[in-house]
């Protein structure tokens, strides 16, 4: 259609699409799915780190972790707001999360088992997230782009904090060093999975890239992540759990083993180590909180009514 051609032309020209502008249904739907999933990931992502807040080893670490988890909830909020500009409510998105209809990042279905996991999550998981998100600051949809700009600033801070924990652990006692290695062993492949399936198996990609909803291919980002992370692991004195990892002079990057994609698809299907618990935790929060939401709403209505009556 002419509208679709004009729309694509705007995108090609680097213009931002704003909420009131015309957009193809596919663009809207894809954005809702992508932004919604990202928002859900921030919310569910509170859980594996929240798991260690009550066991943080020092007051300083507890404060940093609290601030981080608070930031994540804040990111969730920005993103739900961005999604709302596309005509879907936060409650609708939440219900789709809770019913399992919408997904969140598969990484949060892995458990956090030692304090070093707080380091690994910051270093690897936030690191991979940033790799995904930095290009999205230039995405074509205005509200999403602006949310990404705010989020990226905080995420890179989180990643540095995570790496700082890894430094302390890798340079600490023998047990701490062992914890650090163990965390890397468990989070390496799940982090690689965060970029999604290999390009040859990835659906939706071409259209999303044309719309500038997706800025790079999964494999490009994964390669970039590996190239960035391997020297960091070496600096920590830790071993990346991939015996086939080698520097490839020709491509100027590492050759590395693919993650076990069957595991990835199992996790997506609901069969990860923590899928059931994560959804149960979010459902419990929602169900147990119903009386609170209802109560606060009822009070707001009473107060508004009283105000009207008094005028």
């Amino acid at each position: 259609s002419p509208e679709a051609r004009a729309f694509q032309a705007r995108i090609d020209a680097g213009e931002k699409i704003e909420p009131k502008d015309w957009m193809p249904e596919g663009y809207r739907k894809t954005l809702i799915r992508q932004i919604g999933q990202h928002a859900h990931s921030e919310i569910v992502g509170q859980l594996p780190e929240g798991n260690w807040i009550t066991r943080a080893p020092t007051l300083e670490r507890k404060a940093i972790l609290l601030a981080k988890v608070q930031d994540e909830a804040g990111h969730g909020l920005y993103l739900y707001c961005a999604a709302e500009t596309l005509g879907v409510s936060r409650d609708d998105l939440t219900r789709d999360l809770l019913s399992g209809k919408m997904k969140y990042s598969s990484i949060f279905n892995y458990p956090t088992l030692t304090w070093a996991d707080m380091g690994a999550v910051g270093w690897l998981v936030d690191g991979a997230a940033i790799m995904n998100q930095v290009p999205l600051q230039r995405t074509s949809y205005g509200p999403y782009s602006r949310a990404m700009i705010r989020i990226c600033k905080e995420e890179s801070f989180h990643q540095r904090q995570g790496y700082d924990i890894m430094m302390k652990m890798a340079g600490g006692t023998a047990e701490q060093k062992r914890m650090a290695q163990d965390a890397l062993d468990r989070f390496w492949y799940p982090s690689l999975m965060m970029f999604g399936p290999s390009d040859k198996d990835s659906v939706h990609s071409a259209q999303s890239m044309a719309w500038k909803i997706k800025m790079n291919t999964n494999d490009e980002l994964r390669q970039k992540f590996v190239d960035q992370t391997v020297p960091q692991a070496e600096y920590l004195g830790l071993t990346v759990p991939d015996p086939d990892l080698t520097w490839n002079e020709d491509k100027g990057g590492y050759d590395f083993s693919e993650p076990d994609w069957s595991e990835f698809f199992e996790v997506i299907k609901g069969n990860g180590p923590c899928n059931t618990e994560r959804l149960a935790a979010r459902n419990a929060a929602w169900d147990d909180g119903k009386w609170v939401r209802d109560g606060l709403l009822a009070h707001a209505q009473k107060r508004a009514a009283r105000k009207v009556a008094a005028e």
Binding site: P57, L66, T173
Partner: protein
């Protein structure tokens, strides 16, 4: 009781209150009824932990045995804690958490206002910083108590149950003992009993707006701030809070 020992005890009380309550609030992380509340609870916990660092840091200095705020937080057993029993009560439902928060915040704000005029400059300095946060906390927790008390039938009933449960822990905040006497004498801190009229005025007003009834009777639990008899909850809280420091003594994190 010598003045220094009394000041140490007093600082432990201030710092243990914020430490233990901050811990409790942090248990909500990721589980609150609305996203905005998740953020607000994390923010409250963060403020309280920050205040803990200041109070226990000063306590360690005053004690003069080289113990840091972390040492005091992570390496004392339950009986050496000096927090109010209110602070260690379990979260219960969101209403119970917010009622506990309001009953504490209302006291905390008044206490910090008085301490901001402390004869001890270090105490006054910490109090002045904490006061800004406490004022915001009490404004928020009062609003929530009003909103839920004057909300639906269910929310009202839950808030009344929370008040009935927690009210007997209010009295401890105002019961003076020999540590308080020493603090009053040296002009460092007020007589806790003197805070009660302001507290009652504020709290009764808020509970009135919340359409909640203060339970009858004057019974008050005690034993927290003196450390004589905490509740069974504190020990369980410490098993989590102190786990890593206990399991890996001497490590740096």
């Amino acid at each position: 009781m010598d003045a220094n020992a009394a000041l140490f005890q007093f600082l432990l009380r201030m710092g243990d209150n914020t430490l233990v309550l901050g811990h409790r609030v942090s248990e909500w992380c990721g589980h609150a009824p609305v996203l905005e509340e998740d953020i607000a609870l994390a923010n409250t916990a963060l403020d309280l932990i920050g205040q803990t660092q200041m109070w226990l840091g000063l306590a360690g200095e005053i004690e003069g045995k080289g113990r840091t705020a972390d040492d005091l937080a992570m390496l004392r057993d339950a009986w050496d804690f000096r927090n109010l029993l209110l602070a260690e009560q379990p979260n219960g439902d969101f209403g119970q958490t917010m009622m506990r928060q309001f009953l504490f915040d209302a006291w905390h704000r008044i206490m910090l206002e008085r301490l901001a005029d402390s004869g001890d400059g270090r105490v006054a300095g910490i109090a002045a910083k904490a006061l800004k946060e406490a004022r915001y906390h009490v404004e928020r927790s009062a609003d929530t108590v009003i909103g839920l008390g004057d909300g639906t039938e269910e929310s009202h009933a839950r808030m009344q149950a929370a008040l009935d449960l927690l009210w007997p822990y209010v009295g401890e905040m105002f019961a003076p003992d020999n540590v308080d006497a020493a603090m009053t004498q040296t002009g460092i801190a007020p007589d806790p009993a003197d805070l009660r009229p302001d507290y009652d005025a504020h709290v009764l007003k808020v509970l009135g707006e919340a359409t909640l009834q203060v339970p009858e009777g004057t019974f008050a639990h005690g034993g927290g701030k003196a450390g004589f008899r905490h509740s069974e909850h504190l020990g369980h809280l410490l098993t989590q809070m102190q786990w890593l420091q206990r399991a890996y003594p001497g490590a740096t994190w």
